[in-house]
């Protein structure tokens, strides 16, 4: 080595560098190709699902119900666009609507008047669509945590302040079952998670989910299901419309 001129040395170093570069390019291309072609789980490559699962676990470490989404003055509220017609195709008879609760007392069906007897909450928060737009909206409803306390899962001694006493998941679906979401219990009992019957001071329109919709600022808009027909207490992770094949979105979708 010491006999070599600097020109020879740098040529040697360059050759080594280019070989490294070529090797790295092959490894990088192979990795990306593998990622892009990996077997899918619920419409998304499994390595991504694993990482999203890890992100969710990590979020669980700093996720706290003491963190609140920003609230705005009522004057900032706007009319959000009507988005997502799934599960809303048919007309609904609001007067005869009942909220079915699966996993609670047998045959439990709750009326809107019964929900409105729970403490009423007014909240002005930002609805954030997963596609990027957001809109400040004034919501009126009751807390899901109060609902869980009033209509608890059967055969359980629950305390909404203590997550370990609750089933790990809640699922919700439209009456026709065409649209459905799954929620982790921590997000479900967040104090800003509401079952809403009014938007910007008016009863919900059909397009915005009459008679009852979920508002959950800790999740993207896709989880804010309209026209809730059934609420299910679940021990297994409930199916979620956008996190199912072939859509492939992240199940957690937490903000």
């Amino acid at each position: 080595m010491s006999d070599w001129t600097p020109e020879e040395q740098i040529r040697r170093l360059s050759r080594r560098g280019l070989l490294w570069g070529a090797g790295a390019a092959v490894v990088a291309y192979g990795t990306l190709h593998w990622l892009d072609n990996s077997a899918t789980e619920d419409g998304m490559g499994w390595p991504f699902k694993r990482v999203l699962g890890l992100n969710e676990k990590l979020a669980g470490l700093y996720l706290s119900n003491r963190s609140h989404a920003q609230e705005f003055p009522a004057g900032d509220a706007r009319e959000p666009k009507v988005n997502g017609p799934y599960g809303l195709e048919s007309e609904i008879d609001v007067a005869n609507w009942r909220l079915q609760v699966v996993g609670a007392a047998e045959g439990l069906a709750v009326t809107l008047a019964e929900l409105q007897a729970l403490p009423v909450v007014d909240m002005v928060t930002e609805l954030r669509c997963i596609e990027g737009w957001s809109c400040v909206v004034h919501w009126t409803g009751c807390r899901l945590r109060d609902f869980v306390a009033k209509y608890p899962p059967k055969d359980r001694k629950i305390d909404v302040e203590r997550l370990e006493t609750l089933p790990p998941y809640i699922g919700m679906a439209t009456p026709d079952g065409e649209y459905f979401v799954g929620l982790d219990m921590a997000s479900a009992v967040h104090p800003q998670t509401l079952l809403c019957w009014a938007m910007n001071g008016e009863p919900l329109t059909q397009g915005h989910g009459a008679p009852l919709r979920l508002v959950i600022p800790a999740k993207y808009g896709v989880k804010n299901i309209k026209r809730i027909g059934t609420i299910t207490y679940a021990t297994e992770r409930p199916k979620d419309f956008w996190a199912s094949d072939p859509e492939g979105y992240d199940w957690f979708a937490g903000l």
């Binding site: 001129t5 600097p6 020109e7 040395q9 740098i10 170093l13 360059s14 080594r16 560098g17 280019l18 570069g21 790295a24 990088a28 990306l32 419409g43 998304m44 490559g45 390595p47 991504f48 699902k49 990482v51 999203l52 992100n55 979020a59 700093y62 996720l63 706290s64 963190s67 609140h68 989404a69 920003q70 930002e126 954030r128 669509c129 997963i130 596609e131 990027g132 737009w133 957001s134 800003q192 600022p217 800790a218 956008w242 859509e247 492939g248 979105y249 992240d250 937490g254 903000l255």
Partner: protein, 258 residues
């Protein structure tokens, strides 16, 4: 290349660690920008304005198709975005890639900053107060508007400002990204950016600045030539020095490092 005169010597340019951080960052950042565009193009955000201007430029959603494109090339605007680069309708994919590769971007960047701090390399990168004025002179001389000043040290002042600036840009990138990733949990951070919409604005425009940095960087590297580029691959550059009995002369200033 300039004509070689004097004695050839190998000069150590970039430590191995920095070369790895640099070259890992390139594909990772490419993937972040690409997947970011998949997210960005998922939906056109309507007439949201900031500072009297559309928050995101219209031409970025639907750039006019270049005339030289062959007729068979799909340039229709599918919904309201163009399909030409097939970047629309891939939101779930974009999010999956973005929220996977953000870790490589963050960790590589963190490792780079820690390395700069503990190796002492930060001294050659961090600008001094006087650097900002001198950086302007370097930029003007690069544009052939003023004669080039004599340089000493590994980087000129424009480089110091640019390389430190791009680290800060990366930091704003990460923070604004986290502010939109968890605006409810990180409400304080989102608030610091002026809310969710403004955090998106910052995230978008820092990306544009980063892309601008990239273009200037590549142009400067091309201008500086092979010997300089080789420095980022091998760690060494070849320099020619006059043979003297006296203490070694300072390296020749003519070659521009980028």
């Amino acid at each position: 290349m300039k004509k070689a005169t004097g004695e050839a010597v190998l000069v150590k340019k970039h430590p191995l660690a920095i070369r790895w951080f640099h070259w890992i960052n390139f594909p990772v950042l490419t993937i972040m920008v690409w997947s970011g565009l998949l997210i960005f193009w998922a939906n056109r955000n309507g007439p949201i304005t900031r500072f009297g201007q559309p928050m995101f430029p219209d031409w970025f959603f639907a750039p006019p198709a270049p005339k030289w494109l062959p007729a068979w090339f799909p340039t229709d605007i599918a919904h309201h975005e163009r399909v030409i680069y097939s970047l629309t309708g891939r939101l779930a994919e974009g999010m999956a890639w973005h929220f996977t590769f953000m870790w490589f971007f963050a960790l590589n960047g963190l490792a780079y900053v820690l390395y700069l701090m503990f190796s002492g390399e930060w001294r050659v990168i961090v600008p001094k107060l006087a650097s900002f004025k001198k950086a302007l002179l370097v930029a003007l001389s690069d544009l052939h508007l003023v004669p080039a000043a004599k340089e000493d040290g590994k980087y000129n002042d424009a480089q110091k400002v640019a390389y430190t600036g791009v680290i800060l840009l990366g930091l704003v990138m990460l923070l604004s990204g986290f502010a939109i990733y968890k605006p409810t949990q990180a409400f304080w951070l989102t608030g610091l950016f002026g809310g969710y919409v403004m955090a998106r604005w910052f995230h978008f425009w820092t990306t544009m600045l980063l892309c601008a940095f990239f273009l200037v960087h590549v142009a400067q590297v091309a201008r500086a030539g092979w010997n300089n580029f080789r420095g980022m691959v091998t760690g060494y550059a070849l320099e020619y020095r006059e043979r003297k009995a006296e203490p070694p002369a300072p390296p020749e200033p003519a070659e521009e490092a980028a």
